[in-house]
């Protein structure tokens, strides 16, 4: 049972402020992902929750208890590190049981809980090995096992999959998701990989330069990015974002080309406003090769020259030139295209985003 609550949490190193008074409430048993580019303060935030970094200002509550001045061992948390941080001189069994041994748990209970964790993670065959004899994925499983054994209020994950290769990462991602379904604890998960955040988390916290940009479900942050930064950060390939000026009923790009101003933004902007126009690759597609959900009236057709194509098998990313810039589009059910071909592109403007060029905030209702 643990709610984690950050209030005006601040971290300073000398005069440098790294985390600027962030507020966040994590519900019991919720899986929260902190995501952002490196240096955004996500790891520092996690380490403050763990107690590995001092707090310069604000409070952290875990389970309705202010833990600001408690050492890590008194916070009833578990942490999984990017580098696994296993104890190299102990066997897997000893690594798993270490926290219980320190807590002075009786032998039978220790054996039982180690056996449980080992069964959940499939470590039974490895119990007598040392970390140096394990592969990266196995080490990461031991690190997670060590976290489970403690039966903590909160699990903290610090980029746990970053040291694994791509295939293993996908596999372990699924395992973490299954694990959360089984152990049902509060999880705070730090990653720089937005795909990990999207696939795993109940809610995503997007951080940038020590501020929280947006908190929301994967769906919300994808469909309704609150800022230009979030729009560009979430989604792969990233959203097409171009600066533009609002004119009468349209947005005019730097090169002079224009697109109709989507209807729902009409009341939000004035002629002459500087905006950033955003459209996901999914919403730009060669005619007949996309998924259009909205009204046909929202679709704008332009014929564009193709500059590059990136075939992915089930789909092809088509880079097409519009207003002297490359716009990425996603072509489903792909047909062969080559550079220089001219293609009729559908711009589904019902999915368009507008951000204020000045503040970066979304102009969406």
């Amino acid at each position: 049972m643990a709610i984690v609550s950050l209030k005006k949490l601040t971290k300073r190193y000398g005069s440098m402020e790294i985390v600027h008074g962030i507020d966040l409430d994590v519900a019991d048993r919720e899986f929260i992902a902190l995501v952002g580019p490196s240096g955004c303060g996500k790891s520092t935030t996690l380490r403050m929750i763990a107690g590995l970094e001092d707090i310069s200002g604000g409070t952290i509550e875990i389970g309705e208890r202010i833990v600001n001045d408690l050492p890590p061992r008194s916070r009833n948390i578990s942490m999984v590190f990017q580098s696994y941080a296993l104890y190299p001189h102990m066997t897997v069994r000893e690594n798993l049981g270490f926290s219980l041994k320190i807590a002075g748990a009786p032998k039978e209970e220790m054996d039982r809980r180690v056996a449980e964790a080992s069964a959940i993670l499939g470590l039974d065959a490895l119990l007598e090995r040392r970390p140096s004899q394990l592969s990266g994925g196995q080490r990461q499983r031991v690190a997670m096992g060590r976290a489970i054994v403690r039966d903590p209020d909160v699990f903290l994950f610090d980029e746990p999959l970053s040291n694994l290769d791509a295939k293993l990462r996908t596999q372990m991602r699924t395992e973490i998701k299954k694990l959360h379904a089984k152990v049902k604890s509060t999880v705070i998960y730090v990653t720089h990989d937005q795909v990990e955040a999207m696939t795993l988390a109940d809610r995503i916290v997007i951080m940038r330069d020590g501020y929280i940009e947006q908190v929301g479900t994967p769906d919300e942050v994808f469909q309704r990015p609150a800022t230009r930064f979030v729009a560009g950060f979430i989604g792969s390939p990233p959203m097409n974002l171009q600066e533009a000026t609002v004119a009468d009923g349209k947005v005019v790009f730097a090169g002079g080309q224009s697109l109709p101003l989507p209807i729902r933004f009409k009341a939000k902007v004035n002629v002459g406003d500087k905006v950033v126009f955003g459209l996901r690759p999914d919403d730009i597609y060669p005619a007949g090769h996309g998924l259009h959900s909205g009204d046909a009236a929202d679709v704008h057709d332009v014929e564009l020259p193709v500059t590059v194509t990136e075939p992915l098998g089930n789909e092809t990313l088509v880079f097409a030139e519009f207003d002297r810039r490359d716009w990425v589009s996603r072509m489903l059910n792909p047909k062969p295209l080559k550079a220089g071909d001219r293609v009729a592109m559908h711009f589904d403007l019902s999915q368009a985003h507008l951000f204020s060029a000045e503040t970066g905030k979304s102009l969406r209702a």
Binding site: L52, P72, M79, H89, I102, R146
Partner: protein, 298 residues
């Protein structure tokens, strides 16, 4: 008729082999041989009288030799253990310093920058019963009114020598252990803190196993060092009073150069080397075990 030419590898190795033979192998063989003769520097012809193991039998039945041997082992035990503890403490403190660590590290090395002979002179002065700093301090602080005969009473002299030895060499432990601390990954320590360890438990279960190999390296170096301890003792007490601080190598040197009994001295020396070999083998075994344990990749 062609002269058989030496192969290239032989030819390339030859200079090294010749030099080694001249400066190491031949003297070693000669000295080893001389331990089986009654060779005296003053009577060169004795070098050619072979007496077999008689010198060895004599020294092994000589109480003075065994006392010196025992004292050397005792000094080794005391010095190594205390240096280890103090060095560990110093290293842990310096590692905590977030500022001026470089400076502290340099200062920590100071004792190693002095010749042991000078260290000996310095401590001889400090422990002097009349004009020494130690007695002066003890008397000024009112601890005692007597002049403690530091270098004159046997046990106290041994203590004084140990202190000088420890002062001059603790930094070897400190530096090597500090190297270990700086090289060790930080995450296991953080994991231990999260796992519920108190600072002491973190040290005991995580930090210590990591730095153990470094401690053993220091142990090996220092055991060889102390087993051949000579200079500090020579200066401070010259083995006195009445042979109460005589160590193996002061005894060997006295036998070889004061008594000119080179044959016997060599026999003692070869026997003493056994001591060093035993310690080295022991610590290397420990080192290997400690390295395997932490899965060291060096």
């Amino acid at each position: 008729m062609t002269v058989k030419r030496l192969s290239a590898p032989t030819l390339l190795l030859l200079p090294a082999v010749l030099v080694l033979a001249a400066v190491v192998v031949v003297p070693l063989c000669l000295s080893f041989y001389s331990s089986f003769t009654p060779f005296r520097l003053t009577r060169p012809e004795t070098f050619f009288t072979f007496i077999g193991l008689r010198s060895y039998r004599n020294i092994l039945s000589d109480a003075n030799f065994w006392w010196a041997f025992g004292r050397t082992v005792l000094l080794l035990t005391i010095a190594l253990n205390l240096e280890m503890l103090l060095g560990l403490g110093l290293a842990l403190l310096v590692e905590k310093a977030s500022r001026g660590q470089r400076l502290l590290r340099t200062i920590m090395m100071f004792p190693m920058m002095f010749s042991p002979i000078l260290v000996g002179f310095q401590f001889k002065f400090m422990f002097n019963d009349n004009i020494g700093l130690v007695n002066n301090a003890l008397q000024s602080l009112g601890v005692t009114r007597d002049a403690i005969p530091w270098l004159i009473e046997g046990h106290l002299a041994f203590v004084a020598i140990s202190i000088a030895e420890i002062w001059s060499s603790t930094s070897i432990f400190a530096i090597l252990i500090l190297a270990g601390l700086l090289a060790m990954p930080k995450e296991p320590v953080e994991a231990a803190r999260v796992d519920g360890c108190t600072p002491w438990q973190t040290f005991r279960y995580v930090t210590w196993p990591f730095i153990m190999p470094f401690a053993y390296i220091a142990m090996t170096i220092r055991s060889l060092d102390v087993a051949r301890a000579y200079d500090i003792v020579k200066i401070m007490t010259d083995g006195g009073p009445a042979g109460r601080t005589e160590l193996l190598w002061t005894l060997v040197a006295r036998t070889a150069y004061s008594d000119a009994r080179m044959g016997v001295a060599n026999a003692m020396a070869y026997f003493s080397i056994l001591l060093s070999i035993v310690f080295t083998v022991y610590f290397f075994k420990k080192l290997a075990a400690a390295r395997t344990q932490i899965g060291a990749e060096w």
